[in-house]
């Protein structure tokens, strides 16, 4: 479904991402993990259209999308969330999602259909469809859900989830992970989930890629990640990995 080949990003000589390649199958959840500065956000932003790759290609269902603007990426069928939620505070919760449903799809969508799709997305993530509900009434977990609902409302085939667990407590993290899994099943969406918290993520993802200093150091099943000596080395002391949570 998505094929990334030799993806490279340089910032004035500094190589942030170095020749990364991977592929995704339809309906798969891929975990893209690594410590801070590993290049996962840069990779994410290249796929999302916020950064232009210096080299390499990104193909969605055979079509090159590397270097396209975010709006074109969205209309190609890729939805994204932001690490720090960026809601449109002047709009209600429902209107945030209606905006995404109305503008986020290729071709014209009627307002009534956009409203239906927005309500469906909000229900899927467990947010109210009340037209008066304000963004200000949402806490950290609610804002993350709104990010997800907005992305889902664009009817993506591929969802890019950027650190959906950041700022959440353990219960909320587990709920968020289950929700992503639920969304994948309900909508048959392929998901790339970028995260630096490994434990919860490993319960849900089908495969994981670990980045460090812009290089791909591991790709494999969740249970294998926990045993890989290079992964253990980069995380040891800096991150508490609950390996026993990793899906066997």
């Amino acid at each position: 479904m998505l094929r990334v080949e030799n993806l490279t990003k340089r910032f004035s000589g500094f190589v942030a991402v170095n020749r990364i390649s991977f592929a995704l199958e339809q309906g798969e959840i891929l975990g893209l993990i690594g410590p801070n500065g590993s290049g996962k956000s840069t990779t994410f932003n290249m796929i999302a259209g916020l950064l232009k790759p210096s080299e390499g290609s990104i193909r969605l269902e055979g079509r090159e999308i590397g270097g396209l603007a975010p709006i074109e990426i969205c209309h190609s069928g890729i939805g994204r969330t932001f690490q720090i939620p960026r809601p449109f505070k002047q709009l209600t919760i429902l209107d945030n999602v209606v905006t995404a449903a109305f503008y986020g799809q290729r071709g014209s969508v009627s307002r009534a259909k956009a409203l239906d799709q927005a309500e469906e997305a909000l229900t899927l993530v467990g947010l109210p469809t009340d037209p008066q509900a304000e963004v200000a009434s949402l806490g950290a977990a609610g804002l993350k859900k709104l990010e997800l609902a907005r992305a889902i409302a664009t009817q993506p085939r591929l969802l890019l989830a950027d650190e959906s667990l950041g700022g959440l407590d353990e219960t909320e993290m587990n709920a968020a992970a289950d929700m992503l899994n639920h969304i994948r099943r309900e909508k048959n969406i392929t998901i790339i989930w970028v995260e630096h918290i490994m434990g919860v993520l490993m319960r849900v993802v089908d495969r994981a890629i670990v980045l460090d200093h812009g290089e791909k150091i591991f790709e494999g099943l969740p249970r294998e990640v926990a045993r890989d000596p290079r992964v253990i080395e980069i995380y040891l002391g800096s991150e508490k990995i609950t390996f026993d949570e990793a899906r066997s």
Binding site: I71, G79, F82, L91, A114
Partner: protein
């Protein structure tokens, strides 16, 4: 009572005003409020989305001068020259707006670009003195019979009152249409976060250009209407920084985010100007500008929602004395 019923009562009340036997002075004040209320509404239609233009005098000037010059030199009826002027303004808006929005020139920088545009138009009018009369301004050639529908000239104020009323109502309708359209959603989203808006498919450049061009065209109509009413225009009254700032001040004072806010701003600024004129005459040069500036600062600090916005906030607080702040998650 439904707001539509209130609106109907308000329009009906306004429609009978000329029949009440008001003197020319009071009718003049009302016409002035309607024309400027329309111009201010035209500015607020984009200003409410964070697109603060300090150069709307440019569009006002194009409306007044293009319509007047085409009438005076070619005898072209304002029914044709006004749409021509509106097209000129829309082209100008496109020329300035596209690079601004494409390269994300927003906030203060956008305000500065528009400020320059206003001055460019004013200086062009002054520079083309053989055609425009320069700083001395120009008069609209009057029809001998005093009233001509084709020339959009009316000898009696009552007829012009109805013309101004129709245009003003048209402005309110456009404001409402924009408010209820999906364009508003796109602009609200774009004004808060362009990256996030683009990530959900909003074409930020197109949305901003659309509202700028609508606003420019409306303001141009206001400028042409002002010229037709006053029958005299000069660069200081219809273009340049002073008039552009007056527009901003009036809208902020009246209320940027409400439909009637700009009109209330027109009433407020007119009352202020008339009070100053009656009290001090023209003895103290620049007094009105100084007081406008002072009041603008006070409004921004103490009443950022303007007069109507503050009243509405107060009313809605009364209706909901003790809101339950339960989270929506």
């Amino acid at each position: 009572m439904d707001t539509r019923i209130w609106g109907g009562i308000g329009i009906a009340a306004l429609a009978v005003v000329p029949l009440l036997g008001l003197g020319n002075y009071h009718l003049h004040l009302l016409i002035t409020v309607l024309i400027w209320g329309f111009v201010y509404t035209s500015w607020s239609i984009m200003g409410r989305f964070g697109m603060v233009s300090l150069g709307h005098g440019a569009f006002l000037g194009v409306g007044a001068y293009v319509a007047t010059m085409l009438w005076n030199t070619m005898g072209l009826t304002p029914w044709v020259s006004i749409p021509v002027a509106m097209l000129v303004s829309m082209a100008m808006a496109l020329l300035v707006g596209y690079p601004c929005f494409r390269f994300r020139i927003v906030g203060h920088y956008f305000a500065l670009v528009t400020l320059a545009l206003g001055e460019v138009v004013r200086l062009t009018i002054v520079g083309l003195r053989d055609q425009t009369g320069g700083s001395l301004g120009m008069t609209v050639t009057g029809v001998p019979e005093g009233t001509s529908f084709l020339a959009l000239q009316f000898g009696d104020r009552a007829t012009f009152f109805y013309v101004a009323l129709l245009v003003w109502l048209g402005g309110l309708v456009i404001w409402r249409l924009v408010d209820r359209s999906m364009l508003r959603y796109a602009l609200e989203a774009s004004s808060e976060d362009e990256d996030a808006a683009a990530s959900v498919g909003v074409n930020v450049t197109r949305a901003k250009l659309m509202i700028l061009m609508i606003s420019a065209a409306m303001t141009t109509l206001g400028g042409a209407l002002y010229a037709q009413y006053q029958m005299y225009i000069n660069p200081e009254t219809v273009s340049g920084i002073a008039i552009s700032l007056q527009i901003v001040f009036a809208v902020i004072a009246g209320g940027l985010f409400t439909q009637l806010g700009p009109t209330v701003g027109a009433v407020f600024t007119l009352l202020l100007a008339e009070t100053l004129r009656v009290t001090f005459g023209h003895d103290i040069h620049g007094l009105d500008g100084t007081i406008y500036g002072l009041l603008l600062v006070l409004f921004i600090i103490y009443m950022p929602k303007g007069i109507t916005g503050s009243i509405m906030a107060g009313l809605s607080k009364r209706r909901r004395p003790n809101p339950a702040a339960a989270p929506a998650e």
